[in-house]
Amino acid sequence: MIPLDHFLIVSALLFAIGLYATLTKKNTIMVLVGVELMINASVLNLVAFGRYDKVLFGGQVFALFVIVLAAASVAVALGIVLQVYRHFKSVDPTDFDSLKD
């Protein structure tokens, strides 16, 4: 039986990698990949903690929900990225600066 710590360490690494990608990548697609990594890190956490619920399998069920939601959000996000690209002719998130005054 693999102890819980191993899952959590892998999950934390995954989250950190995702976060790093989200904050530093110069490509919006890669930022989205970072976001997906962070979501999957949380899914891993849900599944790992799910071993303590052997009756209802709430962790696993929630993980399924999150995977579906992540897929949907990626679809939407990619749509947005396409529109943004049309507007800015760029996928570099540093170019999206129309929020500043």
Partner: protein, 670 residues
């Protein structure tokens, strides 16, 4: 009850008589430039005359008519306004329109063709209103207002021909000297009001009035009040040494001179003194008598040598006013008023005659284009033949002025002189100088008026001689002649008394004085008239020989002659002693004003400006600086904080992460 109604009706009539000329004045004032005919004025004054005659007949020697209403209140003293009609006012109420009506009619012809006719009638009506108001006013305050108004009307009429420099100078002089007198009046008013708290004539001077009770008033104050009123009368009635304005006032139209500056307005001073006579104590009375006698003498001596036809009459007026003042001073109010009335008639007549002569000579001057003074009696002469009516009328006027028997002037002048001698009997010895001065003045009067008459009407036609061309004079027009005839009628004795030689029977005198005074108590009543008239007749004969026959023995120069001709040098004295110092003082004050006062004001202004600038600086740089500083600080902080936000999405995310981590650290470890 019936008595009450008649009283009321009479007062209303008196009021209408006063107001009628005022309405005429308004007609001219508001009527525009087309109102040029004198009919309105003349009708108004005729109405006044009729009403006042009716009043005089029905109210003579009755109890006084008096009505008054509250006007305004100062503190606890209420000033009233109203009408007071007693015998004194009745005399004046009849006299003023009776003299004014002939003058109005005369003016139709005399002023014909003048460009300022509308102004002329307007001013004349204003004057008549003011004069009538003056005689019926029941309060000294109202009297004072009318007093000022007659002075103002006189000012306007003296300067009627305002394009003449001399007229403007003359009316300025008259106005200034009258202001001096008005000052006296004002002081008198102030003293009376502070002592008694009222100006009502009946309350002050009535039989049981405040003055008669002699309570509550300081005697020295009353002396000052009396002297103040006398100062007012001196200026208005041209008493020495304030008489100098009256001869110059002859610059006005002659009809005006006759009405205002001979018959009525100048007599207002005498009338005022008669009105307030209970106020006077011995000091004031002696002053009045002294000044009056000096005036009578000085003016008569100046009249001896004057060459201007109107100036002789002007000085004669001053002299006669001096006579009236003496009458007031010796306590003979009735005699003063009696002389005032007779003088008004004969002096007005003389002026109108002079006007007729001037009018004719002016006419000839324009016809022949001569360069002469139409008022110089040296150029007249021989007018008796060509202007016989004017001559006869002048003769009547002159006889009345000289006080010859059968004239009204005889009655009043003799009454005056006799009373003066009687009065001197009761005084210390030296006071006899007053009747003596009057005697001499009276003799000079006979001489100068005879000279005036003979120079104008007798002898050769000197104007024809001097230009070497025959000049034919014509008689005065009808409209000028008949008014003079009316006045000449009033100069005769039968208007005043059935007895031509004895003044004691005069109804006017009996109406104004207590009759017990009017007895022939001593020898004066016979000797004085006889003496005066013999002296007068001798002097007139002398004048006849000198001026009519041309046997003039003197050389017409010399110190006394010059002294008299230059009016005792008084004008020069005033010029040097009063006008120049006043001008100097006013110049000095002007410089003081410009240099010192204006300098101070400018200094203060500069200081204020400086402090203003300082305040502005403080405002701009200190107060505004603080406010702006706060604003700038906020802006600066805002800018500083804004600098981190560059629109980089990932930076925002990093910021959120850091904050999140800080919150976790804060929550769990601190």
């Amino acid at each position: 009850m019936e008595q009450f109604i008649t009283h009321k009706v009479m007062l209303v009539l008196a009021l209408i008589a006063v107001i009628a000329p005022f309405l005429a004045f308004l007609t001219y004032a508001l009527g525009g430039k087309r109102q040029k005919s004198g009919v309105v004025s003349t009708v108004a004054i005729a109405i006044s005359l009729l009403l006042s005659l009716f009043l005089a007949i029905s109210a003579w020697n009755r109890e006084l008519l008096h009505v008054r209403y509250d006007w305004f209140t100062i503190g606890t003293n209420t000033v009233t306004v109203g009408i007071l009609v007693n015998n004194l006012s009745l005399v004046m109420l009849v006299l003023v329109p009776l003299v004014a009506l002939p003058v109005h009619i005369y003016s139709f012809s005399y002023m014909k063709g003048d460009t300022g006719l509308r102004r002329y009638w307007m001013y004349l009506s204003l004057f008549c209103f003011a004069m009538l108001g003056l005689v019926v006013a029941d309060s000294l305050f109202l009297l004072y207002m009318c007093w000022e108004l007659v002075g103002f009307a006189s000012y306007l009429l003296i300067g009627f021909w305002y394009e003449r420099d001399a007229a403007i100078k003359a009316n300025k002089k008259a106005f200034l000297i009258n202001r001096l007198g008005d000052l006296g009046f004002l002081i008198g008013l102030a003293i009376l009001f502070s002592e008694f708290g009222t100006w009502d004539l009946a309350q002050l001077f009535g039989h049981d009035g405040l003055i008669a009770k002699e309570g509550g008033a300081d005697a020295s104050y009353l002396t000052w009040a009396g002297l103040a009123f006398f100062l007012a009368a001196m200026a208005k009635s041209a008493q020495f040494p304030l008489h100098i304005w009256l001869p110059d006032a002859m610059e006005g139209p002659t009809a005006v001179s006759s009405l205002i500056h001979a018959a009525t307005m100048v007599a207002a001073g005498v009338f005022l003194l008669a009105r307030v006579s209970p106020l006077f104590n011995d000091t004031v009375l002696m002053t009045i008598a002294t000044v009056g006698s000096i005036t009578a003498f000085v003016a008569a001596s100046i009249a001896l040598t004057q060459r201007d036809i109107k100036r002789v009459l002007a000085f004669s007026t001053i002299s006669q006013l001096g006579f009236m003042m003496v009458a007031i001073g010796i306590g003979q109010i009735g005699t003063a008023i009696f002389h005032l009335v007779t003088h008004a008639f004969f002096k007005c007549l003389l002026f109108l005659c002079a006007g007729a002569v001037i009018h004719e000579i002016q006419h000839q001057k324009e016809k022949h284009k001569l360069q002469i003074d139409p008022q110089d009696i040296g150029l007249m002469g021989g007018l008796r033949k060509t202007m016989p009516s004017t001559f006869v009328l002048s003769l009547i006027g002159a006889a009345a002025l000289a006080g010859l028997p059968l004239t009204a002037g005889y009655l009043s002048k003799d009454a005056l002189l006799i009373f003066a001698f009687e009065w001197a009997n009761y005084q210390a010895g030296f006071w006899v100088f007053i009747p003596l001065l009057l005697m001499i003045a009276s003799g000079m009067t006979a001489f100068y008026i005879a000279r005036w008459l003979f120079k104008i009407f007798y002898g050769q036609n000197r104007l024809s001689l001097s230009i070497g061309k025959a000049i034919h004079y014509h008689e005065a027009p009808v409209l000028m002649r008949w008014p003079m005839v009316l006045l000449a009628g009033c100069c005769l004795f039968f208007v005043f008394s059935y007895n031509p030689l004895v003044f004691e029977d005069t109804w006017l005198l009996n109406g104004l004085e207590r009759t017990d005074l009017l007895q022939r108590v001593n020898i004066y009543h016979t000797v004085i008239p006889a003496a005066i008239n013999s002296v007068s007749i001798v002097l007139i004969f002398l004048a006849w020989r000198w001026y009519a026959k041309g046997k003039y023995p003197l050389k017409g120069s010399g110190m006394l002659y010059d002294w008299s001709y230059h009016q005792y040098g008084l004008n020069r004295l005033y010029e040097k002693g009063v006008v120049k110092p006043l001008l100097f003082v006013s110049g000095a004050l002007y410089r003081f004003d410009v240099k010192i006062i204006d300098g101070l004001v400018l200094l203060v202004a500069n200081l204020v400006e400086l402090s203003g600038r300082l305040a502005a600086w403080v405002d701009r740089y200190v107060l505004d600086g603080a406010v702006n500083g706060v604003g700038n600080l906020a802006q600066g902080i805002g800018m500083l904080l804004r600098n981190g936000r560059k629109g980089k999405v990932q930076r925002y995310l990093l910021g959120m992460l850091i904050v999140f981590l800080l919150m976790i650290i804060y929550a769990n470890f601190i």
